[in-house]
């Protein structure tokens, strides 16, 4: 099972990026093997519109079974929901801390977007 986490860097110590659509990177972490890969989000960082949707497509195509991020807007949430990917909102500082929260069962799937589009 793989989980995607928005990250401002490329390691597990990296700060968790609170943005989804305009996150710097997605870290796709394999909970079974403990390995991870880094997927950059360069094309979206400068997109005028549709960044959340495209980020959701990226995460879904990468095979994520869940997403941990700071905030997720309505369009991205709709795509993730259609792809069957639960969204977990968190306010912890790093990717590693977010994974720890997830493993300990402290994260619950969001029932809706928690911010409007273009919130940041």
């Amino acid at each position: 099972m793989k989980i995607a986490i928005t990250a401002a860097g490329a390691t597990l110590d990296a700060p968790l990026d609170p943005r989804f659509g305009r996150a710097v990177n997605f870290i796709l972490y394999d909970l079974d093997s403990g390995k991870f890969e880094v997927i950059d989000n360069l094309q979206n960082l400068e997109a005028a519109q549709g960044a959340g949707i495209q980020a959701a497509e990226t995460v879904a195509r990468a095979g994520a079974d869940g997403l941990i991020t700071g905030h997720c807007g309505p369009k991205a949430f709709r795509v993730l929901a259609a792809a069957g990917i639960p969204v977990y909102n968190t306010s912890v500082a790093t990717v590693a801390q977010a994974l720890e929260e997830y493993r300990e069962g402290r994260l619950v799937p969001a029932r809706s977007a928690d911010v409007e589009g273009h919130w940041a």
Partner: protein, 284 residues
């Protein structure tokens, strides 16, 4: 003037005086002239012209609607759409109408003809008259982020003859391109400030790429420094006119008055600009 001449008034930076120049030029023509207010996110030429609006038409763009009973989730539509307005992840497509540019590609590429196009209103085009000026203005609906199709609808109402003045939106992005494309000559209105110059440089790059002949009008001349004038000289860009930094112009503007009416001493300044533009547009 028998043949149609189209002059666009644009600027990199907002608030430099596009509408002031456009309205006062139109008011200086003294014969039938058309003003197209293409700043559809905030059309404001009407505040000065106070036209009687004679027609108001809704402008729509076609957006996809998916017949889910026909769709097999092949994802062709999603792969085609550069705007992510239709998204399929091995699922029935999700449609995001406010991102759709109305190109119709998804409906055409769908192998099962499961997509049909529905009109989605994005704004209105209003036509009105104020003295010798025929005003056409677009008004984008609140929350509709798609200006270019509405701008094209405004421009589609341009007369084929006489002088047509296009008041463009500020900046250098898609709505500006939609407004200034096909114009015979373009005026970049700027102000002699660092911000004005910074955005003028961007606008000059844009106009050169579009290959439209152009010149600069410096508004509020005397308030800043001479770097804008030096830039124009070094780049061989004609400075067509300078409008002085006169507090009375700002006061007239703030009251919604046309400068050449409120301050008749500026009539010759706009007449000169008009003559220069007509000569320049003819040369092409």
């Amino acid at each position: 003037m028998s043949e149609g001449v189209r002059i666009a008034i644009a600027s990199g930076k907002g608030g430099t005086g596009k509408t002031t120049v456009a309205v006062n030029l139109a008011w200086s023509v003294h014969e039938p002239v058309q003003l197209l207010d293409c700043d559809v996110e905030e059309p404001n030429a009407h505040l000065f012209l106070r036209p009687e609006i004679q027609r108001s038409e809704t402008v729509s763009i076609p957006v996809p609607e998916v017949d889910e009973s026909r769709c097999d989730a092949c994802g062709e539509c999603s792969r085609l759409c550069a705007w992510h307005a239709i998204v399929s992840l091995k699922t029935r497509p999700l449609v995001f109408p406010d991102l759709c540019h109305g190109c119709g590609g998804c409906a055409r590429i769908c192998p099962l003809e499961a997509i049909r196009e529905m009109d989605r209103p994005i704004g209105t085009v209003e036509t009105g008259v104020s003295g010798p000026v025929n005003l056409v203005q677009g008004r984008l609906n609140i929350g509709a982020p798609m200006a270019p199709p509405l701008i094209r609808a405004v421009k589609a109402r341009a007369h084929g003859s006489g002088l047509v003045i296009v008041d463009a939106p500020p900046g250098t992005s898609c709505p500006v391109i939609a407004a200034v494309r096909d114009c015979d000559f373009l005026v970049l209105v700027t102000e002699p400030t660092p911000f004005g110059l910074h955005d003028l440089v961007l606008a000059v790059d844009m106009v050169r790429e579009l290959r439209i002949p152009f010149g600069v009008v410096i508004n509020r001349a005397g308030m800043g420094d001479d770097r804008t004038a030096v830039f124009c000289r070094n780049q061989n860009i004609p400075i067509l006119q300078e409008i002085p930094d006169d507090r009375r112009i700002a006061e007239a503007y703030a009251r919604g008055r046309i400068v050449v009416e409120a301050l008749p001493e500026y009539q010759s300044l706009f007449q000169q600009l008009l003559a220069a533009l007509r000569a320049a547009a003819k040369k092409g």
